[in-house]
């Protein structure tokens, strides 16, 4: 107590001096951050839109209504539609298993979930070629039964499924760990069934994080290039997704077509960004 009163109080200007960086540092850091964003995010985005419209709106719409562009868009949507719900269910199961149960190999499972993030997408694609390709493990069996996986739509979906697997689980695991299972145990002890507990207790608690994971999963499913490129076979109008169609158009000197398709993907990114902010805000409120 006595030592407290004896201590010389720090004068206000000194305190401000210690806690705050000089003004020029503040401005410099802000300028670097803003400059970086303009240079590496806004400028490329502007170029995409500028190039897409370089020959006018008519050319833009004509490029997007080409049958190949339409097919690419359809395949991209179909892939997202097939993979996102599956990965939502897988993600929920994985998060549930990891946060609610104790079992041997749990930490290994947690690590494995992150595997698609740490493996290069090209390798992810090659894994499937080595498994299901004509020279691969199951190649002979598949071709004997006339089942096509690689260089067809199922291969594209498998590769996308693999790549986007971690998104939902990774959003849910920390949240569910933090929440603990007291509320669920209470519900169960009061006679609720497992399903009722999940729908009425767990789901409302995790819904914003779940949506957030689904959103990121969807963005990646639509935008994936590397893994899909390896398993696609690049058949025009059949196995080209939108990102692959961008490359094809660019290589065919069809710059309006390439950038028009790219603008769709860029638009998707912006929508994702806005939804993401909304979800973050909602999540923060709850």
């Amino acid at each position: 107590m006595t030592t407290m009163t004896n201590t010389q109080p720090i004068s206000a200007p000194t305190l401000r001096h210690v806690l705050h960086d000089p003004v020029w540092v503040k401005w410099l850091l802000t300028a670097i951050a803003v400059g970086f964003i303009i240079l590496f995010l806004c400028l490329p985005l502007a170029i995409v839109i500028f190039e897409a419209c370089a020959k006018g709106w008519d050319a833009y719409w004509a490029a997007l209504s080409q049958p190949d562009a339409q097919a690419a868009l359809r395949l991209t949507l179909l892939t997202a539609l097939a993979t996102v719900p599956l990965n939502t269910v897988f993600g929920l199961c994985a998060a549930w298993a990891i946060t609610r149960f104790e079992f041997p190999g749990k930490s290994l499972l947690t690590t494995l979930i992150d595997l698609p993030f740490s493996v290069s997408p090209v390798i992810s694609g090659l894994i499937f070629v080595l498994m299901f390709g004509a020279q691969g493990w199951f190649g002979a069996w598949l071709s004997a039964h006339d089942i096509k996986i690689i260089f067809a739509v199922p291969g594209i979906m498998l590769a996308t499924l693999f790549i986007t697997f971690p998104f939902v689980a990774r959003e849910l695991i920390p949240l569910m760990q933090e929440m603990g299972s007291e509320e669920e145990e209470a519900a169960l002890s009061l006679g609720a069934s497992g399903w009722q507990t999940f729908i009425q207790i767990t789901l409302p608690n995790i819904k914003w994080a779940l949506l957030y994971g689904v959103l990121l999963c969807n963005a990646r499913a639509m935008g994936e290039f590397g893994a899909v490129s390896v398993v696609s076979g690049h058949i025009r109008g059949l196995t080209n997704t939108l990102p692959l169609h961008v490359e094809v158009s660019y290589n065919e000197y069809d710059f309006v077509g390439a950038f028009a398709s790219a603008s769709i993907l860029a638009g998707l990114a912006i929508v994702t960004l806005i939804l993401k902010s909304v979800l973050e805000w909602k999540q923060g409120k709850h």
């Binding site: 004509a134 071709s143 096509k148 260089f151 109008g237």
Partner: protein
């Protein structure tokens, strides 16, 4: 209940999308290399019209393009090509050899050793040729930056390499001199793209390099698409004859029931219509009499030698030059 309805709705939408992709009529998949895109866009239209008139059947021809080596690899791994239209006979040999999808004597089944059109390698230089590039030995001069793709993945790049090699072997006498020449040449290459189209965009769009070693057809197309007045073609006095083969893939067409269609498709390449289209898209037709004289007049006159003349066979070339630890691996230092 709600969940069930939305799941049903989901499956319904997926079903709709899948059925949109399925095609009732017969289709052919043509797996080709990089620069043939524009040719086959036109040719497929002509063929489907011809087939419809002849048989009443509506067919669809699907295309897949990429670096020749990569495309051959995909077919070996199970890409269901009904027909192959590739850059190098060796790539089709490999498919016959490794995946056994067609017999080894495939080349004898169509006219002219299954080569409906050929091409060669020329130089594309900046406007007015500021570095004064005229012949192969100008490429090894100091300060000349040469763009050519990676011969490990690109068919065109292998022709580039071999054309330079054959030139040096003749001019300077012997393999050692040729190896030295090639080493100097690749010292002047700042970047190796994986395919011919990538190298063209590097040269034209990114403005890198003084000279692009290009397929003749690719060089003409590039000028037409992008570089009118910015770049020009220089034909060296001698270059390599690029024999670009086509083949029906027996195993696949038997499975699909498309044998007659696939054979008719490739044979159509040899007809006046096919030959005219090849020449229009800057390929040298095997039957020049069918092509427009104006199209033929565009081709520069140069002395052309074949792989067989200078190297014996593709098999030997591949082993000596491009396989692991071959000459290319020995001389190329990135």
């Amino acid at each position: 209940m709600k969940v069930k309805t939305s799941i049903t709705a989901g499956f319904f939408v997926i079903g709709l999308l899948v059925s949109g992709l399925a095609l009732a009529d017969r289709t052919l998949l043509n797996v080709s290399y990089d620069p043939t895109r524009e040719l086959y866009q036109d040719f497929n239209k002509a063929f489907t019209t011809y087939w419809k008139d002849k048989t009443g059947e509506t067919v669809t021809v699907q295309q897949s393009h990429g670096g020749a080596g990569k495309q051959a690899r995909a077919v070996i791994d199970g890409l269901d090509a009904d027909v192959l239209t590739l850059a190098i006979t060796y790539d089709i040999d490999k498919i016959a050899d490794k995946a056994k999808l067609l017999p080894k004597d495939w080349q004898s089944r169509l006219p002219n050793n299954s080569i409906p059109y050929t091409s060669t390698i020329v130089f594309l230089v900046r406007k007015d040729n500021p570095k004064g590039i005229k012949d192969w030995d100008d490429l090894v001069k100091e300060g000349v930056s040469v763009i050519t793709p990676n011969p490990k993945t690109s068919g065109g790049a292998r022709y580039n390499y071999l054309a330079a090699w054959a030139f040096a072997e003749k001019k300077y006498g012997g393999k050692d001199a040729a190896k030295e020449f090639i080493k100097k040449l690749y010292k002047n290459v700042p970047v190796l793209d994986s395919g011919a189209r990538g190298a063209t965009t590097t040269f034209l769009q990114r403005g890198i390099g003084d000279v692009l070693l290009a397929w003749e057809n690719e060089a003409f197309l590039a000028i037409k698409e992008l570089g009118e007045g910015q770049v020009e073609i220089i034909a060296p006095p001698s270059s390599i004859l690029a024999e670009t083969p086509v083949a029906v893939v027996d195993t696949v067409v038997n499975k699909h029931g498309t044998k007659d269609l696939a054979e008719a498709y490739l044979n159509y390449l040899y007809t006046p219509v096919g030959q005219k289209l090849a020449a229009k898209h800057y390929y040298r037709p095997s039957e020049p009499k069918y092509a427009d004289a104006a199209d033929l007049a565009r081709f520069p006159k140069l002395e052309l030698f074949t792989i067989k003349d200078k190297f014996g066979s593709w098999d030997a070339v591949q082993k000596e030059h491009f396989d692991d630890n071959g000459v290319f691996d020995q001389i190329y230092v990135p």
